[in-house]
Symmetry: C2
Subunit: 229 residues, 2 copies
DNA sequence: CGCATACTTGACGTCATTCAAACCGTGTGG
DNA sequence: CCACACGGTTTGAATGACGTCAAGTATGCG
């Protein structure tokens, strides 16, 4: 299926937003849309023909596996995010859908040509790459030194911020995009510790749990404080 | 002082290597060299006029501080590395010299203009940024799940690989670029744990310590094995 | 209804941290 | 030349946070 940029929900925020409509349509002829169900893989570590993609809707996780097969989530991708390693011979990480997701995929050669043809695109991807770097470093900061409580508080804070439409305050309520297991291995903890600490955060009045995935933020300041930032 | 690209030791490996000699010289008129002693800061978190730089010789660390002032090293920069956030209004992290270092600095506006003028430069910086991202994710993988022993083994392995001239095997001997304290906070450990685990790695015959900073790699395979990768 | 999957809760063990003291190489002043 | 202080490091013992193992409780789906 060809792309329909005109109705694309992320046409103003994705990397391709920097192109003129004509350039964008030219690039679009090289791309294909794809939808993934929860748990489906976009590409795997070691793939040598890994494509690149812009996420249109849904959410992805990027994860690595150690030699015993334990997963480590390295990054989450949200709509308008760009995914794909451009200059490495093969992919280093698995990319898997967390929820039903729509993507706009490109063969790597097409993206590379587009980078050469449209300097603004290279600049946009550079910007995105630096944002990814910053996000990864934030996660690193978190997992390296902070206590389990602080890690969890920070993650909830981030999710609440991402779920909010305003950039200056948190959403008062949101759905966790991850299972306990995924939260645990993103933060370098175990499922049990995540469950316990969520209970403690609830006890101390920072949050309330609504079902398995729902979170109400009762005390944003406390959450921020516990997160150590 | 103006730049002398012709004698620059990283002229073939730094980002500017993708420019033609003419373009490079044009860019060079905007740059300045700078030398930093160990411990000197290139720029600090919060600086709004942070420049960008290519590291010519020496080594830098990029670090963040939590609300109690504890340092967390996020990344090391080696010669030919590029440092600087291009699209953020202010710097997020401190950048400090680990050893006497020579840099080639540019005002941000000059780099931004160069990116627009020379598409190849944008591409080169994108590539570098993605490499940084990969390195940071490797560190994240390490600190999130691995035991103290595995983290240290992996770090030593990386240093040994970086110190080797060949890309396929490790240096048999190298000097640690970091103090115990710096190693500790890079890996999310304490000084004492680093010291103990170094002792254990020596006992089990993986390495030998030569003075405070020197390391002999006695059993590269064991080191790799302990690192969990 | 029955089974599977995700989550919660408890008891116990382990590994890294903490606190404390000693050690070592180096530079300084008597 | 020696005494001494100082930063970086090593080592030891005790504490505590998180992991492990195991059982038990929802929730959803065929």
């Amino acid at each position: 299926m060809n792309l329909a940029c005109a109705t694309c929900p992320v046409k103003d925020s994705a990397a391709c937003a920097v192109l003129t409509p004509e350039e964008r349509d030219a690039l679009a002829t090289a791309g294909r849309t794809r939808t993934l169900k929860r748990g489906e893989m976009l590409f795997a570590a070691g793939d040598d023909e890994a494509a690149c993609a812009t996420l249109v809707s849904g959410a992805l996780k990027v994860s690595a596996y150690d030699q015993d097969g334990n997963e480590q989530i390295l990054s989450l991708v949200h709509p308008s995010g760009f995914i794909g390693e451009l200059f490495t011979p093969f992919a280093h990480h698995d990319v898997v859908a967390l929820t039903e997701s729509r993507l706009c995929t490109f063969a790597r050669v097409d993206i590379e040509r587009a980078i050469d043809d449209y300097p603004a695109l290279a600049r946009a991807l550079l910007r995105r790459s630096q944002e990814d770097l910053l996000a990864t470093r934030n996660l690193l900061e978190l997992t390296a030194h902070a206590s389990a409580e602080a890690r969890l508080a920070a993650l909830l804070h981030d999710f609440a911020a991402a779920a909010s439409d305003s950039s200056c305050h948190l959403a008062s309520s949101f759905e966790l995009p991850l299972t306990r297991g995924e939260i645990a291995n993103m933060l370098g903890l175990t499922i049990e510790t995540v469950s316990r600490k969520l209970g403690e955060l609830e006890e101390m009045g920072a949050i309330a749990r609504k079902g398995k995935r729902g979170i109400d933020v009762l005390d944003p300041a406390l959450l921020q404080d516990l997160s150590g930032r």
